[in-house]
């Protein structure tokens, strides 16, 4: 499967309070959360929620999604229309939450360093190849571990749990 979109670029240690501030956690509605996604990324030159389009891609540096376990963070990103998040590394709870809810994430140092805000990028999940159409460059991400591919193809943890419980 391939996705293609415009990049929103962020730096190191983007925490889940920045991705979705706790003042909005009195809602668990994905659309409502999406309205405030990345609202406290106050050093970013582009206002995320006003500009994001279906299929767009987030690229960040190290430890993306650190802090709180709130699943509202990957939910808000997914509901914003983001098709993929690429970073050097992900904080572990964000990583497992993304896998569990089926938000594609990829770790790739080179892409994280080279891709800039506004670049047009294409990602092939089957091969792990990331193409920067703006800069005409190609990067190779770590492929999804087999376990993660199984979870994705099952449709996330809820679907996998159903199948393990023998529920159709």
């Amino acid at each position: 499967m391939k996705v293609c979109g415009t990049v929103f670029k962020y730096g190191d240690n983007i925490d889940t309070d920045v991705i979705i501030p706790a003042r909005y956690l009195n809602s668990s509605d994905p659309k409502e959360l999406a309205k405030h996604c990345m609202e406290d990324a106050i050093h970013s030159s582009v206002k995320f929620a006003d500009n994001v389009k279906e299929g767009d891609i987030i690229v960040a540096e190290k430890n993306f999604g650190c802090g709180s376990s709130r699943e509202h963070a990957p939910i808000a990103i997914k509901a914003s229309g983001i098709s993929c998040v690429i970073a050097k590394t992900f904080a572990r709870i964000f990583y497992r939450n993304s896998i569990n809810i089926g938000l594609p994430i990829l770790e790739c140092d080179e892409a994280a360093e080279d891709i800039d805000m506004g670049d047009k990028v294409e990602v092939d999940f089957d091969t792990g190849v990331i193409k920067n159409l703006t800069k005409n460059k190609t990067y190779k991400a770590e492929p999804f571990p087999e376990f993660m591919q199984e979870m994705f193809s099952a449709g996330g943890l809820v679907e996998q749990t159903k199948s393990k419980l023998g529920i159709k």
Binding site: N13, D15, D17, V18, P21, A22, R23, L25, N26, S27, S28, E39, D40, I42, K62, N63, C66, G67, S68, S69, R70, E71, H72, P74, I75, T89, A91, R92, I93, R96, N97, N100, I101, P145, F147, G156, L157, V158, Q160, T161, K162, K164, L165, I167
Partner: protein, 419 residues
Amino acid sequence: MGMTMTQKILAAAAGLDSVKAGQLIEAKLDLVLGNDVTTPVAIKEFNKIGIDKVFDKEKIAIVPDHFTPNKDIKSAEHCKMVREFSHNMEIKNYFEVGQMGIEHCLIPEKGLAVAGDVVIGADSHTCTYGALGAFSTGVGSTDMAAGMARGVAWFKVPSAIKFVLKNKPAKWISGKDIILHIIGKIGVDGALYKSMEFVGDGLKYLSMDDRFTIANMAIEAGGKNGIFPVDEKTVEYMKEHSSKEYKIFEADADAEYDEVIEIDLSSLKPTVSYPHLPENTKTVDEAEGLKIDQVVIGSCTNGRFSDLKIAAEILKGKKIDPSIRCIILPGTQAIYLQCVKEGLAEIFVEAGCAFSTPTCGPCLGGHMGILAKGERALSTTNRNFIGRMGDPLSEVYLCSPAVAAASAIHGKITDPENA
């Protein structure tokens, strides 16, 4: 090759003789935990699974602590949903306002986590129970839902960093100073995906409360869990609080560690984390004199009785600086009551502090002490991210209860030695 303490617990819970770092396993859970923010999302996912029973109604704990007592109508709706679910599922360990405390103070106090347990909680600070020698880690709401349904969770077996804590802590040095020092040293992703195992002769000087504080903030270094070996203090604590059977695991002598870091506790100074990351640490002498607007003493990191006791000792007979607000939130109802009985409540109120019912409240910018633009808080909580306690242009500095109390008296960051 030997296994770390964490690996041994995970191997046993997965029904395997041994595991190694990087291996994916499915482990049996002894406790699944959620709060009023994460459980509503978990309930929605649980309902999608299509079963009408949880795997074990004794092994689930639900603690509405974040936005309670309900801060607004939407939060009240969430709490209502959680209350009804707990009732319908006959969940034994649901703690209503008036019974509840901050979850990570409450769960050990109620004896719901003990050594050898595997615990997941839809709250990142679930790593707190590593202080008891349990494997305990934060997860998301979908994991909580799947855990409630099947009583298992998937884990990638972590490698570990060993922290050897040496010597007797210097005066004023608490668990908070130790963990802030460690995070300052290794960074907020210094232990990413890893276990943090705390060992060494220095442990004998650390109370259970100190250990809870240290394990609690393992997540602030990116750690999967923080864990302490079980000693007499742990056993004494578990005997006092729990009737659950516990199991003691020890790391193998030949266990492999990614790194071994020695910390000389006698050389530490009280430590303060500057905005906007816990790794931005300075010693209190470097921070002294910085003007503050609010002090918060409490949270799952520092809302335990010994935390409040040291604050009370410093505040006794004093008044807080009139230019600031000082908010003190005990971790549980039992701690609250003990504060009342032992005279701490009176000291706090006489000093001019707001002293109130347990809640996570201000720690995550929920309620009970939100900051305006440009305001600066000194707090015994665990995170100082942008906007964490209120306006994105406010600031949070992290410290121990002793530094917080001393600073409240002077209206600026103060070494407790100079209080």
